[in-house]
């Protein structure tokens, strides 16, 4: 579980030059970057909204668990998976 522990402690932030915002016409959060755009699903949007470089992943998970009660395990697992993927794609830096 080394990776889970190390991810919990990092404070991810949006990579420079990426624009993250709500887009009414898509009814979704979107990510805009050079030559690309991604429409985020609602949970990805909720996670990314909190990635400000100050909150650690465990802070983010705690916040989400408070905001959406009754899904603790699912939220923790989803946040770990999302942060890992988003780092791999270059959306998030730590």
């Amino acid at each position: 579980m080394d990776t889970a522990i190390s991810i919990d402690n990092v404070c991810p932030r949006l990579a420079p030059h990426y624009v993250f915002r709500w887009e009414a016409s898509q009814d979704a959060y979107i990510l805009l970057y050079p030559e690309g755009l991604i429409k985020l699903n609602p949970s990805a949007g909720e996670i990314l909204k909190r990635c400000n470089g100050e909150r650690s992943v465990s802070d983010i998970i705690a916040e989400l668990q408070a905001a959406f009660p009754g899904k603790d395990a699912e939220i923790a697992e989803g946040a770990h998976a999302f942060v890992t993927v988003a780092r791999g794609k270059g959306w998030l830096r730590v």
Binding site: P16, H17, V19, R21, E23, S25, Q26, I30, L32, Y33, P34, E35, G36, L37, I38, K39, G90
Partner: protein
């Protein structure tokens, strides 16, 4: 230019997510692979005004556009570029500048940054000054290197675009090394595609299959070495692999181009197809042009597909390939793109690739993109 590698595979839900504004076809360069119309010089007098471009931007945003490319020609030749960028940024569009770098000063870059520009794509053809200058027909090499420095100094994310063809293919390695050194995040090795000027010069510009394979191997070595620090876009061009490109992600699916004179098109090349009705934002709303115009409906979706496409298992992936290429090579835009190995006219592509590999043949001069280099008067 139709993109094979925009990294985009998404359902636009019928919205023009991606807008390209060809602000002008004027350009200080004379590139022989240019995808602008052969009669580009005829558009200089009919360019949209600043207010007309702003109306296009407003209407596009209302239609759901998110990504915006300012292209040309050389968009820096428009004095209102900063004003248009600022307006687009206020509307919430992600603004990309696609430039040759000629005319990019430190002052102008600062003004564009202030206006809200998000990203710059710069083209560079080689790492050797005499070669670059010969290829683009102007003293451009030093200016381009300076432009790269200015873009980085202003902390823009940057895509370095290297159009790849036979005359510069040996420079790919040096260019990647240089880009990595400069800290460029994205590099696009854009195998040129054969429309307009590039098609006129195809026999001379097209690399051999062996050369393309060597570049592929080289790119893979660099990707391994550079890891996350740089993303290199490179795909084997459609002429070589028997698979057509998913041109523009489908006709009228997510891309909308507006030409300097306001004509709205599903791609930058569509005007090569005769018999289609091209209409301008001067006369029609963008919403009507996108949703209702006969041009955008002509090849939208999959219902119009001919055989062998309509019964093909890959039709959802490539939409029958490129309509412009189908017309230019087979004479009928409704045919299967001959880049597809299942096309009855696939030999047109394979023969073109084979013929350039002949050791002895007549080498033609390259036709530079200049006014009156060719006459288009009798093409209708």
């Amino acid at each position: 230019m139709p993109k094979e590698s925009s990294g985009l595979s998404l359902d636009g839900q019928g919205l023009p997510l991606w807008l390209s504004l060809e602000l002008t076809y004027r350009c200080p360069l004379k590139c022989t692979w240019c995808n602008n119309p052969l009669n580009f010089d005829d558009y200089a007098q009919s360019e949209l005004t600043t207010d007309e471009w702003k109306r296009v931007l407003r209407e596009a945003r209302e239609l759901g556009t998110l990504q915006l490319g300012f292209t040309g020609g050389e968009p820096l030749l428009r004095d209102d570029l900063e004003e248009l960028v600022a307006y687009a940024d206020e509307l919430g569009l992600y603004t990309n500048l696609i430039t040759s770098g000629i005319g990019l000063t430190d002052e102008r870059m600062g003004a564009l940054k202030k206006a809200g520009l998000k990203h710059v794509q710069l083209s560079l053809q080689s790492m050797r000054q005499p070669l670059t200058d010969e290829l683009v027909g102007a003293k451009a090499h030093a200016l381009k290197l300076e432009a790269a420095r200015i873009i980085k100094a202003h902390d823009f994310p940057m895509v370095l675009n290297m159009p790849v063809f036979r005359q510069n293919i040996a420079d790919v390695d040096a260019m990647i090394a240089w880009a990595a050194d400069l800290g460029i995040e994205y590099m696009e090795l854009a195998n040129i595609q054969y429309y307009n000027w590039a098609l006129l010069n195809r026999d001379e510009l097209m690399p051999s299959l062996e050369q393309v394979r060597e570049i592929e191997a080289l790119v893979n070595r660099w990707r391994e070495k550079l890891g996350d620090t740089m993303t290199i876009y490179f795909v084997i061009p459609d002429y070589y692999e028997g698979r057509p490109k998913a041109c523009m992600n489908g006709w009228g699916a997510i891309h909308l181009t507006v030409a300097p004179d306001g004509v709205a098109m599903p791609c930058q090349e569509a005007r090569v197809i005769p018999g289609l009705e091209f209409e301008s934002v001067r006369d029609k709303s963008l919403a009507w042009l996108w949703h209702e115009s006969p041009l955008f409906r002509k090849y939208r979706g999959l219902d119009w597909l001919p055989e062998p496409c309509s019964s093909c298992s890959e039709k959802d992936k490539d939409f029958g390939g490129c309509r412009c290429q189908a017309f230019l090579l087979t004479g009928n835009a409704t045919n299967t793109d001959p880049a597809c190995s299942k096309s009855p006219q696939h030999h047109l592509v394979t023969e073109a690739v084979r013929s350039v590999a002949q050791p002895i043949r007549f080498r033609k001069p390259l036709i530079m993109r200049t006014p009156r280099a060719v006459s288009t008067a009798f093409m209708d």
